[in-house]
Amino acid sequence: MKALLNWLDDRTGYREILNDALYERIPGGARWRYVWGSTLTFTFVVQMITGVFLWMAYSPSSQTAWESVYYIQYEMQFGWLLRGVHHFTAQAMIVLLALHFMQIIIDGAYKAPREVNFWLGLILMQLVLGLSLTGYLLPWDQKGYWATKVATSLSSMVPVIGPDIQRLVVGGPSYGNHTLTRFFALHAGVLPALLIGFLALHIYVFRRHGITVKTPPKAADTTFWPDQVFKDAVACLGVLLVVLVLIFWNAPQHSSELGQLAEEGRLGDVFGADLGAPADPTENYRAARPEWYFLFLFQFLKYFSGDVEVFGAIYIPAAVMGFMFLMPFIGRWKLGHRFNVIYMTTLLIGAAVLTGVALKEDRADEKVAAAVLDAHSKSERIRELIVDRGGVDTAGAVNLLRNDPKTYGAELFAQKCATCHQFDGHDGTGEPLKIPATASDLGQFGRREWIRGMVTEPAGPKYFGATVGASYNGEPVETRFTEGEMASWVEENAESMTSEEINAVVEFLVAQGDRADNGAVNSELAAAGREFFENGNDNLTSACVDCHAIRPIGEDEELGDIGSAPLLTGYASEAWLRDFLRNPGAEHFYGDNNAMRAFDNLSDQELNLIVRWLLHNWHEPETVTEPDTVSEPDDSGE
């Protein structure tokens, strides 16, 4: 063994290198205040290791970036831990950077002969900030996407070449695949390589000049190994522990279910870094905020607008940074050094105050809070959808979400329908209607109670009663429906129908819709209802079929004639509703009486979302099922 080492030393001279590295002299003894540089190096090494492993599972494109990170976080073993370490170590690095920097300034370690090393340090700082900025985009979730979009659009403010710079950074006129490939290459290739290079120079130059001893040494000199190494190691361990605490932050909240989560491989649900909803370029995210350590810049920018915005975005930050390069010269005078210390302290305090103000303003802003909440519920929803489907298709997760009635149905209803209809008394999203309703309340449309109401009190306020104040095509609707054929018929015949007969005909209509949310159909009752629908009873002025045509479900022949009342074939089913919405004024629906606008310009996707949402037809995770009547569980109607 010894011979081998001797041979190796002979060929490489490794002992001398090792000795130089380990037995560097530390005048005045090892001290805790020297650890910051080492902790920074340590965090960088951690980022390199975890980063390369993450790289093995990450796929940079707009349909796969979020999806692959999702897979890392929730599906791959220890993915949440790996991602958590990478994410929180990055944050720790920023804090350590600030500490290291302040220590250098206060100790005067930037002054001659260490100017060059100070400059190298400033460059390293830029590189670390660059890594943070590029990394924030990579998961391609709402917050990363919108925050980075804002940041890159600032670069377009650079005079003259700004727009070109922005185009180069973004990889084209708009955000997308090439933004990701470029950011990823910067994040995993260019910036780390530069960082390694500058870090090597930084450490080399540092070794050349040695440690800066501020106060005259009280203790005896020592060497780097083992005393300072020990202190450095303990400090790094401290950093690692902080990172772990952040990763497991939610543990106390979930302590009771941890065992089960671990067994099911679902620790990623509660631990590690947050993954927001997938980026949706069509949905402007109100809470686009950079990472916390850039918040002060974000806040600073708020005080500049219009023509002077470029000062807040570029000139002033650049001047502040540029000034730091001059510090070694200023620090030659005693007063200059003091000035430098005050300058940096003021900067830090200023940044802290701005950060505080930014956080406070956000907390007071309901729209931001709502956007954050919305993004959070979307990120939980998308998880349910992916688990249900067993994975995403090539169109990606955002497409899955966009086709989810539970997520977008209410919004669409509020936009398109709530100008006339209500939904359980509100506009679908829970907000009150802006103007009084002029059409029925569709909250329970097609369910037993609702149909029953339509058959017993069609002129009531939840049905046609609301239409009296409406006007359509410039013509007031007035009593067109409240005294229309249906309402008149019911008024004349209400006394002549038994409750049992009404139940039966309602069950018959429920059977036509064949809807999962209505639960199982009582087929005996429905058969009686069919009989009543066709033949009525002896006391009625006419039967339903005398006005309504229908082809009962499972039969081949249509009863009655189209023309005088809405066709009830497949009533309240998705197909019926879709057909109705496309053209409510069709002869087989409301014909000349119609007072509802046609939705013929709605895309198929939007139509589908509204229809499925109204019919409560969306995926719910198995634990939550909510059929409105007591009945055997049914297959969800997908």
Binding site: L82, F230, L240, G390, G391
Partner: protein, 198 residues
């Protein structure tokens, strides 16, 4: 790193060796080890994820005796004949975070020799997984890559075949008197016995 080697050149003032030097050295090495091992071990555990067997999600529920079986065709479409018919096997395909519903996942040959007698073969050659095809003139399965040929029964037909076993037979079940369900599996190539790839 040997902790006890001494600096070769003495500096201006030889540093005083700290008293608890051994403990310091020992702890430094231990902590240093933890610091490097932790991120690396996390990464390694993550890297080994593919070795874990994953249960398939989103699978339709079928009667227990048909679990793992896929419907390929119906008896009506599969005449009794001396010649096998080729079918695509359609199943949901998982690719990491992607789930592709109803995709071709493989090819099989079905040979129906009697009312209920069906032989099913995976069309991948057991030698090196090239897709074999049936040559009606020679009444043999022919592999395009290394010249293996197989009888309609799946047995090796040419003595110089590099294949270590015959074509891979798959389990067949008839469901509802008409539907042909097979247990589609791939097997490790080059082995004399059938070892399923999971």
């Amino acid at each position: 790193m040997t902790a006890d080697s001494n600096p070769t050149e003495t500096q201006e003032t030889a540093p005083v060796p700290p008293r608890r030097s051994f403990l310091t050295k020992f702890l430094s090495v231990v902590i240093g080890g933890v610091l490097v091992v932790f991120p690396f071990a996390t990464g390694l555990a993550f890297f080994l994820d593919p070795l874990r067997s994953r249960r398939k999600q989103g699978e339709e529920e079928v009667a227990p005796e048909f679990e793992g079986f896929i419907k390929v065709t119906e008896l009506e479409e599969l005449p009794v004949s001396e010649e096998p018919h080729r079918y695509k096997v359609i199943d949901d395909r998982v690719d990491a975070w992607n789930m592709f519903l109803q995709q071709p996942v493989g090819t099989v040959y079905l040979l129906r020799s009697g009312e209920q007698d069906i032989l099913a073969f995976n069309a991948d050659c057991p030698h090196a997984t090239c897709p074999v095809s049936f040559d009606s003139d020679r009444k043999l399965y022919q592999c395009p890559c290394h010249n293996s040929s197989f009888h309609p029964t799946g047995d090796i037909a040419n003595p110089d075949s590099p294949a270590a076993r015959g074509l891979d037979r798959l389990e067949v079940k008839i469901r509802n008197d008409n539907e042909v369900w097979i247990k589609f599996q791939n097997f490790l190539p080059g082995k004399a016995e059938q070892i399923p790839v999971t």
